[in-house]
């Protein structure tokens, strides 16, 4: 079997693609990008409605579109792309055949059918329940069924990935341990299995409830288990995009981890603790004990946060070390000044890293603090936070990786590289200001998922402070910039696949190849108990200062509100 598997070695990078894996990676990536296109159009409509001065679509359409946007982006775009990453990190990086390609296609088909099913339910107007679909608000059974089918498909993808790791080990396609990036993908996969199981545990009874076989679904139970699916799926993203950061650092700079032990331990902490985050959504709920909230919301004493802070140092640290070894040693920061800022693979990845840490990370820990959560629960601060993590963090990292995959995997020359150079900046900075403005508005009490903050026609209407309106205006303008950045990405990727010049891809054979990227000339053995990344360390201290200040500012604010006990 193994000897008859066909491989193609990319002539530019030496990366090796198993034919079945290659087609599957392409199919999943294309499905992801199509979902991003749909979700992006919906995003623009939502943006232009919540920008209260424009207030584009009606209330019915707004809530419907918001439901579809959440699922098509957060679930469909991201998980299709992650399945592509899983196949890439197993089959390609381990130079092995993909296990059971037919099952992988079955998983793909289920995901496509699931997507179509729940979108049909939503766009028919019978499932305007937001992506969280909190019971007892009912949705059309097709809504839950579609999600379940999608989840089963994704689960099959996870097992194909695990199977491929086993194939690689049995057929000895690599020596020693799996690469760090594959280990990160494995982390994502383990969390995904947990996540999808939680989704099934709650969505299957809810589906039965929607068709009348189950009488009652307890709303607190629903929230607790649904969020073990809803929030944990964001932890898949975190693990996956951090794996992508490490991969891009390796691809662009030939960087190797400062220490395998530290980076792998950090991923391991994710596996142990990251799933507890269900609690983040339940801190302002009745019915759960304080001890449960405190333990779970802090991921068991912030050990998963610790892991993220470690990756935040070790990824740029690895780049710094690689750059210094190339001779960019002047001062603390020459290594970063002389980085290839015009290469969208790098700039996208780096903006993703900084944005994820400063905007998504700090805000996430603040709002995940038991008492502080009351200050922002269900305000527009919440989407502000998760657009920083999932859009700047995950989506931008995936975009950056795409620019690498266009020539390597799709064998096309990128059209319009001049435009691609600017894309990560437009998208990243647009989203950055957008998320900050949302967080600002949320701090002033503006609710999320709300069509009209003027409460028009209600004699009891509340008037939000002028600053809140200003924030929504800033959100509108910067959101449009981000949408333009997103459209550029779609134009460049889809355009390159359709009209890009074909590049020689290398023929298929049963031969295995050697990597030809910068890594081939990479250095051996650092992590020699020196102080190899002083510049990154300074960045980390700046980050910590911002973190500490923001954290305590919020405690100060909390201390001024009504007494609650």
């Amino acid at each position: 079997m193994a000897t008859t598997a066909l491989f193609r070695a990319c002539p530019r990078t030496g990366l090796q693609f198993h034919r079945s894996a290659e087609t599957l990676i392409k199919a999943n990536a294309v499905a992801a990008v199509l979902a991003l296109l749909l979700g992006g159009v919906l995003a623009l409509l939502i943006l232009l409605t919540r920008w209260q001065a424009v207030h584009l679509v009606g209330a019915n359409d707004f809530y419907l579109i918001l439901t579809a946007h959440g699922l098509d982006m957060l679930v469909v775009w991201i998980i299709f792309f992650e399945i592509a990453i899983l196949y890439f990190c197993s089959s390609t990086l381990l130079k092995t055949r993909l296990a059971t390609p037919r099952l992988a296609w079955l998983g793909f088909a289920l995901m496509v059918i699931g997507t179509l099913t729940f979108n049909a339910a939503i766009f028919s107007g019978q499932a305007t329940v937001m992506m969280t679909s909190y019971v007892p608000m009912p949705a059309h059974p097709g809504f839950y069924l579609g999600l379940i089918l999608f989840a089963v498909g994704a689960l099959i993808g996870c097992f194909v990935f695990l199977g491929t790791l086993i194939v690689a080990r049995n057929e000895k396609t690599y020596e020693g341990s799996i690469p760090l990036v594959t280990f990160g993908a494995l982390t994502a996969c383990i969390i995904a299995v947990f996540t999808i199981a939680s989704g099934a545990i709650i969505l299957i009874p809810t589906f039965l409830w929607s068709i009348g076989y189950v009488k009652h679904i307890d709303p607190i139970m629903y929230r607790t288990i649904w969020w073990a699916f809803g929030h944990s799926s964001q932890q898949i993203n975190v693990s996956a995009h951090i794996a992508v950061w490490y991969a891009i650092a390796a691809i662009v700079f030939g960087a190797k981890p400062m220490s395998e032990r530290v980076s792998r331990s950090a991923f391991f902490l994710y596996i142990l603790f990251l799933q507890l985050a269900s609690a983040h959504h339940l801190l302002s709920d009745p019915g759960l004990s304080t001890e449960w909230k405190v333990f779970n919301t802090s991921y068991a004493m912030y050990l998963a946060v610790l892991a993220s802070m470690i990756h935040g140092l070790t990824v740029p640290g690895a780049i710094e070390v690689a750059q210094r070894e190339k001779g960019y040693t002047r001062g603390l920061f020459e290594w970063i000044r002389r980085a290839p800022w015009g290469n969208p693979v790098f700039s996208g990845m780096f903006i993703s890293l900084v944005g994820f840490g400063f905007l998504g990370g700090i805000s996430g820990v603040m709002m995940g603090t038991e008492q502080l959560n009351m200050l922002i629960h269900n305000t527009i601060y919440v989407p502000g936070h998760f657009h920083a993590t999932v859009v700047i963090g995950t989506t931008l990292a995936f975009m950056a990786l795409t620019y690498f995959l266009i020539p390597t995997l799709f064998q096309r020359e990128m059209i319009n590289p001049g435009l691609a150079k600017w894309q990560p900046y437009l998208f990243g900075f647009g989203m950055g200001v957008f998320t900050l403005a949302m967080m600002g508005a949320g701090t002033l009490g503006v609710p999320r998922r709300h069509w009209d903050i003027t409460f028009a026609g209600n004699p009891l209407a509340y008037e939000f402070p002028g600053t809140a309106w200003l924030m929504l205006g800033v959100m509108g303008v910067s959101g449009v910039v981000a949408v333009i950045g997103g459209a550029l990405y779609l134009y460049i990727t889809v355009g390159s696949l359709l009209w890009g010049k074909r590049l020689p891809g290398g023929g298929y054979s049963t031969e295995r190849s050697v990597l030809r990227m910068p890594v081939a000339s990479a250095m051996t053995g650092h992590g020699h108990a020196g102080f190899a990344a002083p510049g990154t360390f300074v960045f980390a201290l700046i980050f910590l200062t911002a973190f500490v200040l923001y954290y305590f500012v919020n405690w100060k604010y909390l201390s001024t509100v009504w007494g609650l006990s």
Partner: protein, 179 residues
């Protein structure tokens, strides 16, 4: 050799740490502990902690208790819908109903005094959002959540709904007076 290849050293876990990494891990860990202990600390010394006192309830049971309070302590009615404004005794149990798409009744509280505020939803989930104070609490049908509130400033407050509860969600807003 690089992050996308198997580690060059077979025994990679014995490789010594770089000091930049080691120092950062210690600093980050210390900070994580500070953040963790802030929560129990605030439960002991802080004045803003969300109660976890919760009971099961039904719409009928809760409506009965709310109605009894309204019958006894209404001081006036407001708006064309004649929503009662209730001025409950200091320290008493106060009932606030969340339903499509209204908070009922309206409350008038005294500054600096404490009240046991009971919250539940009659139908779907709702979100209690007190503005401009910006205190936000999830309100869930079937559960009666008792929160002791102590208003510290006089004024007219708004209560919004910030959990999506259907097509009229954005019209769900009420008032709360503190005198």
């Amino acid at each position: 050799m690089s992050a996308i290849m198997p580690p060059a050293q077979r025994v990679w876990w014995k490789q010594p740490l770089d000091r930049a990494e080691g120092a950062w891990i210690l600093i980050a860990f210390a900070w994580c502990m500070v953040m963790f202990f802030m929560m129990p600390y605030w439960h002991v010394y802080g004045k803003q902690n969300l109660s976890s006192e919760t009971y099961r309830t039904t719409p009928e049971q809760f409506a009965k208790k709310a109605q009894a309070m309204v019958d006894q302590h209404t001081v006036r009615v407001e708006t064309e819908q004649k929503i009662p404004v209730v001025k409950p005794p200091v320290g008493s149990d106060v009932y606030l109903i969340a339903r499509l798409w209204q908070w009922w009744p309206m409350l008038e509280l005294e500054q600096g005094k404490s009240y046991r505020l009971h919250l539940t939803a009659m139908d779907y989930q709702h979100g209690f959002s007190l503005q401009p104070e910006n205190i936000n609490i999830q309100v869930i049908p079937g559960y009666e959540h008792v929160v002791t509130v102590t208003p510290n400033r006089a004024g007219t407050y708004a209560i919004l709904c910030n959990e999506f509860c259907g097509i009229g969600h954005h019209t769900m807003v009420s008032r709360l007076y503190v005198k």
